[in-house]
Symmetry: C2
Subunit: 345 residues, 2 copies
C-alpha cells in the first residue's frame, strides 16, 4: 500500500510499504476512507531529527473495517468506523473515568509498532475499545465532519468541557487553527453567549464567527490582552480556551482570565516551566486544566448532531488532496495557505 | 487598647494603641473575643523587612459588635459575629460568584488602613458583607471551632471543594498544619473513603486520623511519593490537597496525583514558576486549582455542623494564650511546639 513517511524537517514522502496485518487477536485492520494533517504534525515537520528509516504519520481517520482478530466482538468486516487519536481498551479504570489517553493498555499512533493513518490502511490495536461504528455507514457529504471527531472537534470540546463553559460564562478562545475554531463551536454548544476569538487570519476567524464567536481580536500579546480587557470592562472572561501551546499563548491566557476563572489548555505545551505563583494563578483563584482530549469518550456524544447536520465541524477542512499529494498538503499547512488539509485516499 | 505589632523578623510586641473607631458609614467596630496566630503569619515572622512603625497582625477572629456605621443594616451592637480573613461587600459580581477574595470593594486585614485582630478590637469595613452573625450568641465551648471558620476550616474546605473530592475519589493531603488537617476533615465531609495524610509530626497526624485520614505517610520528597504510589497500586490519588505552599510540596503533589486528577492548592505559593508542561500536567490531564478560600461564602455553609457538634475543627488549637503573650505564641508556632495558638482576649 501507499503510506506517508517523514524523514526529517520538511521531508515528507509517500512510499510503498507492506499492507498492515492483524498482529494481536484484539486488532482490526481498517481501510482508510479519509484522513488528514494535524497542526501537531507540523512540530516534527519543523523539528524531526534525521530519520533514515522514516516515521509513519497521521492520527486522525475514518474508514471501513477490513479484517478483525478473533477476540474482536463488536466489529466486523465492512463496518464504517471513526478512530480517535489514541487507541484504548475501553475497559480499564482510566477508560471508565474518561481518561482514555491514559489507558492501561492503550497508546498513540505512530509509536511502539503501531503505524499511521496517512496511508491506505492501518492496523488498529484494541479495536473494540478504540473504534466507534457508525450504524448504516456514512453519507459522503458528512465525511469531513465525521473525521473531525477523530481529534480536532473532540479536542475543542474537551477544552470547553474542562473549562466549565456554560450559559453563565464568558469565553475567550486563543488560536484560530482548527482546534480553536472547534473550541468556539463547542463553547457555543455549551451555551456561552459571549465568545471572544483571538486570531489573526481573517478567513479563519470568519469561520469562527460562523461557529459562534461574537467578537474577534486580531491583536496578540499585551495589545491583545488590553483589547479583551477593554471588551470585558477590564475583567477578562470566566473561561479561556488555549488552543496554541506556545508560552506566549499561556501568558495571553493569564492576561485575559477573570478572577475565579479557568484556563483550559488543549494546545500541546511547547514549554515546561511557567508562572503559576501567587500573583498569576493563586490570588485570583484561577484554575488551570486541560490536556489531550479523551476523544474516544466524546465521539458517541458528539456524533448525533454531526449526523443530523445540526453542526458542521468539517468546515475546518479547506483543502482536499489525494494521498500521494501529502507532501504538498504539509507544505500548504506549514505556509498557512490551508487551514486543515483532508486526505481522500 | 492592646494590639500585636511586628517590627521585623522575630520581633513581635503587644503595645498600647488608640481604640479603633468607625471611619466609613459601612464600618463596624468589633470587640475581639478570640483570635489566633496563622501559619501564614510565620512568613513575615521570618522575612519582614525592618519596620520601625510596626505592622498590625492577625486576620482570624470572632467577636461582639460594639458599634456600627449608619449604613450598616444587618448588624447591631451586641451581635456575636464571625469574620473571614478577607473583607468584602457581599454584593459585587465577584462576591455573587463566591470569589469574595477578589471583591471589587474588599480587601485584606493589615493593609490599606485596616488593622489586625490580634488586638482587643478591630474596625471592620463593609460590615454587612463581611461579618456573619451567630444567632443567639455562642456557647463558650464552641469558640475554638467557630474561630476556625475565619480561615483554616474554610481554607481546608476550599481545597476539597475545588479538588472535587467525593465518595468516588481517593485523596492525598500534603501538610499536617491546621489547614492540612482541616482539609482532611473537609475531604471526609465530602465523602472520601480513602484519605492519605502526608505529615511528619505524629501528634498532628494523630489528629488527622481522628479527622478522617485513613493512612499517614511521614516520608517526604521522592520517598514520600514512592510510599503513596505503593499504597495506591502505583497510580497516586484522584485528588491532592496541597496545604504547604513551598515548591517541594507542589513537586510532591505532581508525584502523587493520578492521571485525570486534580491538584488543589491552598498553601500560599512561595514560588512563581514551576513545571506545568507536557509531562507534568498536560499529558496526564491534571487540573491545577485552588487559591485563597472565599471563607465568607463557606461560613454559613459550615456553621450548622459546628453548632450541633457534628464536627470539632477547633481541635487544631493546642495552646491558648492571653493577648499580652502573643510574642510567645509566635515563638511556639515557629518552633513547632504548638500546632495553632488561640488568643483569648
Amino acid at each position: 500500500m501507499r503510506a506517508t513517511y517523514m524523514y526529517g524537517p520538511g521531508d515528507v514522502r509517500v512510499i510503498d510499504v507492506p499492507d498492515p496485518v492483524l498482529q494481536q487477536p484484539t486488532d482490526a485492520v481498517v481501510r482508510v476512507v479519509r484522513s488528514c494533517i494535524c497542526g501537531s504534525d507540523l512540530h516534527p515537520y519543523h523539528n524531526l531529527p534525521a530519520t533514515p528509516g522514516g516515521k509513519t504519520m497521521g492520527h486522525e481517520f475514518i474508514g471501513v473495517v477490513e479484517d478483525v482478530g478473533r477476540e474482536v466482538r463488536t466489529l466486523r468486516k465492512g463496518d464504517f468506523v471513526i478512530a480517535p487519536f489514541a487507541w484504548s481498551d475501553g475497559t480499564c479504570d482510566f477508560c471508565r473515568e474518561d481518561v482514555q489517553t491514559s489507558c492501561r493498555h492503550g497508546g498513540f499512533w505512530n509509536a511502539n509498532g503501531v503505524g499511521g493513518c496517512q496511508a491506505e490502511a492501518v492496523r488498529v490495536p484494541q479495536a473494540d475499545g478504540t473504534l466507534v461504528k457508525v450504524e448504516g455507514g456514512a453519507d459522503p457529504a458528512l465525511l469531513p465532519s465525521l473525521l473531525t471527531l477523530s481529534d480536532v472537534y473532540g479536542t475543542g470540546y474537551h477544552a470547553a468541557l474542562k473549562g466549565g463553559v456554560s450559559a453563565r460564562t464568558t469565553v475567550t478562545v486563543i488560536g484560530d487553527g482548527a482546534v480553536g475554531l472547534l473550541a468556539v463551536l463547542a463553547a457555543k454548544q455549551f451555551g456561552a453567549e459571549r465568545i471572544i476569538l483571538m486570531g489573526r487570519h481573517k478567513d479563519r476567524t470568519d469561520l469562527g464567527v460562523e461557529f459562534g464567536a461574537t467578537e474577534v481580536v486580531a491583536e496578540r500579546g499585551p495589545e491583545g490582552i488590553a483589547k479583551v480587557r477593554e471588551l470585558t470592562g477590564g475583567d477578562g472572561t470566566h473561561v479561556v480556551l488555549e488552543a496554541v501551546g506556545h508560552l506566549p499563548a499561556y501568558e495571553q491566557a493569564l492576561g485575559v482570565v477573570r478572577p475565579g476563572g479557568v484556563i483550559s489548555r488543549v494546545g500541546v505545551p511547547q514549554y515546561d516551566e511557567a508562572p503559576i505563583g501567587f500573583g498569576t494563578l493563586f490570588l485570583p483563584n484561577i484554575t488551570l486544566t486541560g490536556g489531550p482530549a479523551p476523544a474516544r469518550a466524546y465521539i458517541e456524544r458528539l456524533l448525533p448532531a454531526v449526523l443530523d447536520g445540526t453542526v458542521n465541524p468539517g468546515k475546518v477542512f479547506d483543502r482536499t488532496i489525494a494521498l500521494d499529494d501529502a507532501p504538498g498538503g504539509y507544505r500548504a499547512m506549514d505556509e498557512r495557505t490551508a487551514l486543515k488539509v483532508l486526505i481522500a485516499s
